[in-house]
């Protein structure tokens, strides 16, 4: 997976500087609301992980959790 590309897209969605995005970044600290989660669903689809169940996404706590989802394809 293009991890750098994924981090960049996540930075746009979370509206944070790219330099702040790492696996350790807590989603709850970055405006992790339903609109953001919807946007992440689209990013995950872009990276080859379509149709992530909303409850699976809701369990993610960190950007690292999102990366693991994306790498699961």
């Amino acid at each position: 997976m293009d991890k750098e590309g994924f981090y960049s897209e996540i930075a746009v969605v979370l509206q944070v500087d790219r330099s702040k995005v790492s696996d350790a970044l807590m989603l709850a600290d970055s405006g992790w609301d339903s609109m953001t989660q919807v946007s992440v669903l689209l990013v995950l689809d872009q990276f080859g992980v379509p149709c992530v169940a909303p409850d699976v996404l809701a369990k993610c706590k960190t950007v690292g959790d999102l990366v693991r989802l994306a790498e699961r394809k």
């Binding site: 609109m35 669903l41 909303p54």
Partner: protein, 352 residues
């Protein structure tokens, strides 16, 4: 379900929005400004058209119908059927199409009925018109598609308050020779994804159903307000919309490169951007034209056509067109058609 007709043409389209509107920026006093700015950025919606309390969807459709009938130089007696497609009728009964028959001075010898469909409803409406013409019963069908969805929206529900607007439209379909392909699908297991769960007959109105409560998602709404599971609806659209568009194109014998316009239900900008990327089409071919109107449910496709029609015609995008509606039900439908000879009137406004 799929079918094809070769006996109709879409003669004209007109759409009307209320003059009254709400700028989403104005909600900064109620909600976190940063979160609101994020929503506006993602949805592309900056303003919502809101019908005043005395204005209904049928009023907006009536205004559209009058303008369209005049533009097409039709006599009321020319219209053989009137179909009203809406989730916000004037009355629980009678059908609003009957009320419109009278207001438009149509002949009594006319077919009238209402269809309760939302986001996919415009495609259903066109299918219905073509079925009526194909069977030989009608030569000219008037479709009135509109909704005042803002009436269902809870003022303290961030998931819906910033999305929905009001509009009404009229479309005339006549006997002709265009070839239109339709694909339609339903998944009723998803009926709860977009729902107003009380106020009809399954759960009648009561003081309890009218009471706003704080919900799991942190929003406040009553059972008589619309609930929309944004994540569920997004997943559904991502999964189904590209598939149905590819399928209807395959049946039509056309390929994507020939299509000038993918006229999709105007859910929000980020959804359409995603779908355009997924299908490999440009944003110009899949316009989001409702940023200052909102998601107008069944009327969103005709509203987009009215708002962007001049530009689309200048860009020569109306010869081969895909239209696709998706959402509440869950219901989704797509068609291929041509709007090359369709009179598309500029978007109108209706004052209270």
């Amino acid at each position: 379900m799929k079918t094809r007709f070769d006996c109709c043409r879409i003669a004209g389209i007109c759409a009307t929005v209320p003059t009254d509107s709400v700028a989403l920026d104005a909600l900064q006093t109620e909600w976190d400004p940063k979160a609101l700015a994020n929503v506006i950025r993602m949805t592309g919606i900056t303003r919502l058209r809101v019908a005043p309390p005395t204005m209904t969807a049928s009023d907006l459709c009536l205004e559209s119908a009058k303008r369209l009938i005049q533009e097409l130089q039709l006599a009321p007696s020319d219209i053989d059927a009137i179909v009203f497609i809406s989730q916000t009728p004037d009355y629980p009964t009678p059908a609003t199409s009957a009320v419109l028959q009278d207001k438009l001075g149509l002949k009594q010898d006319v077919v009238n009925f209402d269809i309760n469909q939302g986001c996919s409803g415009y495609i259903y409406a066109l299918l219905q018109a073509e079925m009526l013409i194909h069977c030989g019963l009608c030569r000219t069908v008037l479709l009135c598609a509109g909704d005042t969805s803002t009436r269902f929206v809870g003022a303290r529900d961030r998931s819906t308050r910033v999305v929905f607007g009001d509009a009404g439209s009229a479309t005339v379909v006549t006997a002709g020779g265009n070839i239109d392909c339709f694909h339609l699908k339903t998944d009723g297991s998803g009926f709860r994804e977009i729902i107003v769960s009380a106020g009809a007959f399954r759960v009648p109105h009561s003081p309890e159903t009218a009471r706003e409560v704080e919900c799991e998602d942190g929003n406040f709404r009553s059972a008589e307000h619309m609930f929309m599971n944004g994540k569920g609806v997004t997943t559904f659209a991502m999964r189904e919309v590209p598939t149905i568009i590819e399928a209807v194109l395959a049946d039509s014998g056309m390929n994507k490169s020939e299509i000038g316009l993918f006229g999709l239900h105007q859910a929000n900008r980020f959804m359409l951007d995603y779908l355009a990327r997924k299908l490999g089409v440009t944003a110009e071919a899949m316009p989001f034209a409702c940023g200052e109107i909102g998601n107008t449910s069944v009327a969103s496709i005709p509203v987009m056509l009215a708002a962007a029609g001049v530009k689309l015609r200048e860009q020569n995008r109306l010869n081969k067109v895909v239209l696709c509606g998706f959402g509440v039900g869950l219901s989704w439908a797509a068609m291929t058609t041509t709007l090359a000879d369709t009179q598309i009137l500029p978007l109108a406004e209706l004052k209270s």
